[in-house]
Symmetry: C2
Amino acid sequence: MKLLEERIIQDGRILPGDVLKIDNFLNHQIDVRLMDQIGDEFYKLFKDTAPTRIMTIEASGIAIAMSTSRSFGYLPIVFAKKTAASNMSSDVYQAKEHSYTRNVDYTVHVAKNYLSKDDRVLILDDFLANGEAMKALISICEQAGAEVVGCGAVVAKTYQPGERTLKGMGYKVEVLARVKSMSDDGKIEFED
Amino acid sequence: MKLLEERIIQDGRILPGDVLKIDNFLNHQIDVRLMDQIGDEFYKLFKDTAPTRIMTIEASGIAIAMSTSRSFGYLPIVFAKKTAASNMSSDVYQAKEHSYTRNVDYTVHVAKNYLSKDDRVLILDDFLANGEAMKALISICEQAGAEVVGCGAVVAKTYQPGERTLKGMGYKVEVLARVKSMSDDGKIEFED
């Protein structure tokens, strides 16, 4: 997605530890117009898979899911939660996720009410790195008997294993901006 | 907001501890069409305050902010974060929030880049109970020298102090569904 790549080059910052920070439009400040264009792009890429539901994970995925839902003519969203609230029902599907960014393990969960065996699920997230979050969401869909029809991420680094891993599991994976390399002087290159 | 009240009566569940659970359209599963109607309602209520930016707090506030941003013709959103990620800059405004639902204290923070003294901020959230989250966001705006032009919540219980507290501080506060009472047999009454 050319527009997104240009925006990453314009606004992205490379931090120590191979971190690409694009929190001025994606996951802290949100540029809603760009997010709607991202939603339209996911619609083009996944419309043939006929999803009935979008699944994502709090918090950054929610904005992406909102725009994409609208591009599809309003699909219901369910977002997985990372922490057990005191008013969370015990009637949930759960999966483990290791976050490399924060170096902690999460238990992510979705209430059983909001996912059924008849659902065709499009899983969306902001970053695809090692694929840990996506794999946790896929596991939750499997527990529900729901079919995962696709996995979409806004950004991935192609030298990290997430995209390859998910494709190896047989899933349709689409990434809107595929980072091939980042250099210390701030240069970012994309794969076609 | 009549449509919202009807939906709460239809789908809301009352749990022990005076908990109103409406996570099948607001904060776990999301009904995006309803969320857009909520955004339109906030636009009507706050358009005269001429906000330049919407501020909310992860995670449930993001969906509300997305729809409202669009109703305003695309305002930038910034959402406060609750946990310090390892790649979070130290250059942040911080405030303490006590969550009664989870019975823990959070430090919420916003990067200084995404809030300026020229901003007119509309603060939005899903629930307004004791006003702890809103007060933390107001404190962050004060630190930035930004003006808070309004506080909007989707649901509040009028017997909890949040709405009164914020109004007492001089803020314009709008709540779309004001719960007057909830009974053990599932009956929910609203104030006009």
